[in-house]
């Protein structure tokens, strides 16, 4: 839609503040399930959202697919806002700019023929299928080209292209009643060339599913645990990151007390960061969905809580700096405080040193799900190994870690020197679908982790 029309609609708004975000999503998705090519879809999704603020009351929102009705939606959002009888809302001041971010992809996946995409994922699927005992697979290729036009009544006008190319591989092995799965993948804002050459990943996934068939369930108990970078990354996002989102604390004095800046959360070795500016990661953007530039925000520095993540509204409310963390899953949703790329900074310990003084423990790898209820968390590792006398021993399955967040962070007693950022990651926070994020960590060691199991 042309810029004139968007800006005219903003000028015509009677609200104290108005913003318009229009999005187009072009998606191609190819999925093999076992030997079946189950899905070859190309979809086109276009829509917009208007967010209008009446300072004395609150937010009015209108979302829509028919962009021709933009002016009517601006008025509808304003009319809705008038119904909201909340507390006065202020937005932290930001110097807005006009910007246009066009991406230059290595091999633009929009130009790659469908046949070639199909061949690629069929090849990976074939590798999964030809390992012994694999009874089912799911091999997904997807690409997505999103164009976001963002404008607000304070002068921002930003067009940003957000590409994403994904390969995701799942293998299911079965022996009688024993069914085991393994998965891995790659999803990055980049060109088609990034998802070539993943044959080795496919072999590893299939092999792991097969290996899990003969793994025993971990014996329940309390162990020292080494988490691999993938699991540690998901842990820091789920268990700690969400508490650092200011929308959790801003209106809740007890939560503010719990998350008071200066409180010690871990030992001196622990530093946790959210950084939306890192290149080539899923959570990276130049601007958030309020038009605020992203940045690096330290959440924990040497064990002490030093920062949190903000939208303009929460920053104003808590009198803290904006951080560019207002993000929306898509045009159906307003921006809320979300993480971008969240990670534990590298420490100095090698993996071997971490292992060395563990008589009996668990090496927990990969994450196949995690949930937290603030202080309580549960994480399922994809697989694991027992640690016996300082050495990795037999593989174990059904590795589910649970615990209390505060105790667990304090119990992190070693941080590896091998920070790795994940190339997968979805965050579901009240907005359906899931938002692309990245998580990362080095290997970390946690003492006294409760482990379900037999």
């Amino acid at each position: 839609m042309d810029r004139e029309r968007i800006q005219a609609a903003l000028r015509a708004s009677r609200a104290d503040y108005t913003e318009i975000r229009l999005e187009t999503w072009r998606t191609t998705k190819i999925i093999f399930h076992g030997r079946h090519l189950e899905t070859v879809d190309m979809t086109f999704n276009e829509g917009g959202i208007v967010r209008a603020l009446v300072r004395s009351g609150g937010w009015g929102l209108a979302t829509f697919n028919n962009l021709e009705t933009l002016e009517r939606r601006v008025d509808q959002a304003y009319q809705s806002a008038r119904w909201v009888q909340g507390e006065p809302i202020n937005l932290a001041p930001v110097d807005f700019c006009e910007d246009e971010i066009r991406v230059a992809l290595g091999t633009d996946f929009r130009q790659v023929p469908l046949a070639q995409k199909k061949e690629l994922i069929e090849g990976y699927n074939e590798i999964l299928l030809t390992q012994g005992s694999i009874v089912d697979t799911q091999a997904t290729y997807a690409d997505q080209f999103i164009t976001v036009t963002y404008a607000n009544s304070e002068g921002a006008f930003i067009i940003e292209e957000r590409p994403l190319v994904t390969v995701h591989l799942v293998a299911t092995a079965r022996q009688g009643d024993n069914v085991q799965r393994a998965a891995d993948g790659l999803s990055v804002p980049a060109g088609f060339e990034q998802v070539l050459g993943l044959e080795e990943m496919a072999r590893r996934v299939a092999q792991r599913a097969v290996d899990l068939l003969s793994a025993e369930t971990v014996v329940g108990g309390v162990y020292p645990v080494i988490c691999d970078p993938k699991l540690a990354g998901v842990f820091v996002h789920e268990a700690f990151g969400h508490l650092s989102e200011a929308d959790f604390v801003y209106a809740n004095p007890q939560a503010q007390e719990m998350m008071v800046l200066g409180r010690r959360f871990g030992r001196d070795i622990l530093t946790i960061v959210d950084d939306g500016t890192l290149l080539g990661l899923r959570g990276s953007h130049r601007y958030d969905d309020e038009g605020v530039p992203t940045r690096r925000t330290e959440l924990v520095r040497e064990g002490i809580l030093v920062g949190r993540l903000h939208s303009r509204e929460t920053a104003a409310r808590m009198k803290e700096p904006v951080t560019g963390n207002a993000r929306a899953t898509d045009y159906r949703y307003p921006p809320i405080v979300r993480m971008t790329n969240t990670f534990i900074e590298a420490g100095e310990t090698t993996f071997e040193e971490m292992l060395a003084d563990i008589p009996l423990g668990v090496y927990a790898c990969d994450s196949i799900g995690g949930q937290t209820m603030l202080e309580n968390f549960s994480f399922s590792a994809g697989y694991g190994y027992m640690i016996r006398h300082g050495r990795l021993a037999e593989m174990v399955k059904d590795v589910v870690l649970s615990g209390n967040l505060f105790a667990t962070l304090q119990n992190i007693d070693a941080i590896g020197n091998d920070l790795t950022m994940s190339k997968l990651g979805m965050c579901g926070k009240g907005q359906g679908g899931g938002l692309a994020v990245s998580t990362g960590a080095p290997h970390i060691r946690i003492q006294g982790v409760a482990m379900g199991g037999r």
């Binding site: 719990m258 209820m373 968390f377």
Partner: protein, 433 residues
């Protein structure tokens, strides 16, 4: 251009599905009203069989019909080979899914209800932070195919989500309730009262020792037991051979007190309907009857692949092809009043919510989950909330030994109606604090 006509020459079979809707949402955050939102939705999805291959595409917003057709044909060129036949015209059961009065409810009334809910819960606990999302949605879907089926469905849906957060030092309580209905009734008051009761019961925190003990699952907690079953009964897993029940139709797989229905004929339920998303008539049917596995849920595609018939369970959104899903899942209640079930427990655990649903390997029936909200039962009384507790087991063993099912049953997530389920003995692990 009529798309179905346009496709007639280019495909053996074709289907056009459209959706149009408007939803109004009011939300309260931390006890105060935060936003009012209106969502306008419209979109179109096409499927076709070309040379025996199935293609799919979907679009919202302004898209040229030629582009849509081109995408569909490209998709079909590489699509799955599957011998499915779109259904012709066929009558389905008559079920009420639309209440015109819901469309008439003014925004002001939704705001009022939200305020009332916040006030009720704040009266229960002045430290409670209450969040409310109240949504009213009116939608129309239409499905037409080359076999002559024409199904229009109009729905009204009221959905309510309420959560309470209470932070005391490092002690955090989060409890919630949801409700969905095709009409606005007083039912929200009962849901809010149930939530208030959960908050009251959680005001005292107590401890529990690890071991095997009786565990009483509230309907919301019982999801952890139902989820593996829902996966195993789903035609996708049956057809792929990954369901442990795939080859066990007619066999005794669970306790003989357990009977589970898929019932799209319940009036007034948002998941009810006369036809599924593929135009196949819906029908009420047992999935588990007296512990015996009676059948599975199929859509057209999984049925074709499994050599079965669609059970009228093809569910669809806009941007993905249909997949099998239950309509309303109803677990037949038992004969014991809840009060008597409680009274019979010397020492045990009441599970209201578990964390990490679906994690691990749910298809296998195994579960190992922390209890998000649970209570200690002592000498027949609920005496307080217990924290840092996990439960584990496998439904294919544990649901063979069901001690009792309550007379009372409640809707969970708008789609499952479940009684309280008492398991005589389950593994409970507690972490020392």
């Amino acid at each position: 251009m009529d798309l179905l006509e346009a496709l007639r020459g280019q495909a053996e079979q074709a289907e056009v599905y459209t959706i149009e809707g408007e939803a109004t949402v009011v939300s309260f955050e931390a006890n105060t009203m935060k936003a009012a939102k209106v969502d306008e939705t419209r979109g179109i999805a096409l499927r076709a069989l070309v040379n025996g291959r199935l293609g799919f595409t979907a679009a919202s917003g302004a898209v040229a019909e030629e582009d849509l057709v081109a995408n569909l044909l490209a998709s079909a060129r590489y699509g799955e080979e599957v011998k499915l036949a779109f259904p012709g015209p066929a009558a389905g059961p008559e079920v009420a899914t639309y209440d015109p009065s819901l469309a008439e409810v003014p925004l002001a009334r939704l705001v009022e209800i939200g305020q009332e809910i916040v006030a009720t819960l704040r009266a229960t606990d002045p430290n409670a932070h209450v969040n409310v999302d109240l949504e009213r949605e009116i939608s129309t879907t239409s499905l037409r195919n080359s076999a002559g089926a024409e199904v229009r469905a109009r729905r009204s849906i009221l959905s309510l989500g309420v959560s309470v957060e209470r932070v005391r030092g490092d002690d955090v309580l989060i409890a919630y309730e949801t409700l969905s209905d095709i009409s606005l009734t007083e039912a929200y008051r009962q849901a809010v009262e149930r939530l208030a009761e959960k908050v009251r019961l959680a005001s005292r925190v107590t401890t529990l020792r690890s071991g095997r003990m009786p565990v009483l699952f509230a309907p919301s907690g019982a999801l952890v037991l139902l989820l593996p079953l829902m996966l195993a009964l789903n035609g996708q897993h049956v057809q792929r051979g990954t369901s442990p029940l795939a080859t066990r139709r007619g066999e005794h797989v669970l306790a003989d007190t357990l009977t589970l229905w898929d019932d799209p004929t319940l009036p007034g339920r948002p998941a009810s309907g006369s036809h599924d998303g593929e135009g196949v008539p819906c029908a009420r049917k047992p999935l588990i009857e007296g512990g015996i596995c009676r059948g599975f849920l199929f859509d057209l595609r999984t049925a074709a692949l499994a050599g079965a018939q669609s059970t009228g369970n093809g569910a669809r959104g806009l941007f993905a092809p249909p997949t099998p899903a239950p309509s309303n899942l109803v677990l037949q209640p038992g004969e014991t009043p809840l009060a008597r079930m409680l009274a019979g427990i010397q020492r045990g655990l009441l599970v209201e919510e578990v964390l990490g649903l679906g994690q691990g390997n749910p298809l296998s029936g195994a579960f190992s989950n922390p209890v998000g909200l649970g209570y200690l039962i002592e000498r027949g009384e609920i005496v307080g909330r217990v924290k840092d507790v996990s439960i584990s087991g496998n439904i294919y063993q544990d649901l063979r030994q069901v001690a009792a099912l309550s007379q009372e049953s409640y809707w969970v997530r708008g789609q499952l109606k479940l009684p309280y389920i008492l398991l005589g003995e389950l593994n409970v692990v507690c972490r020392e604090r």
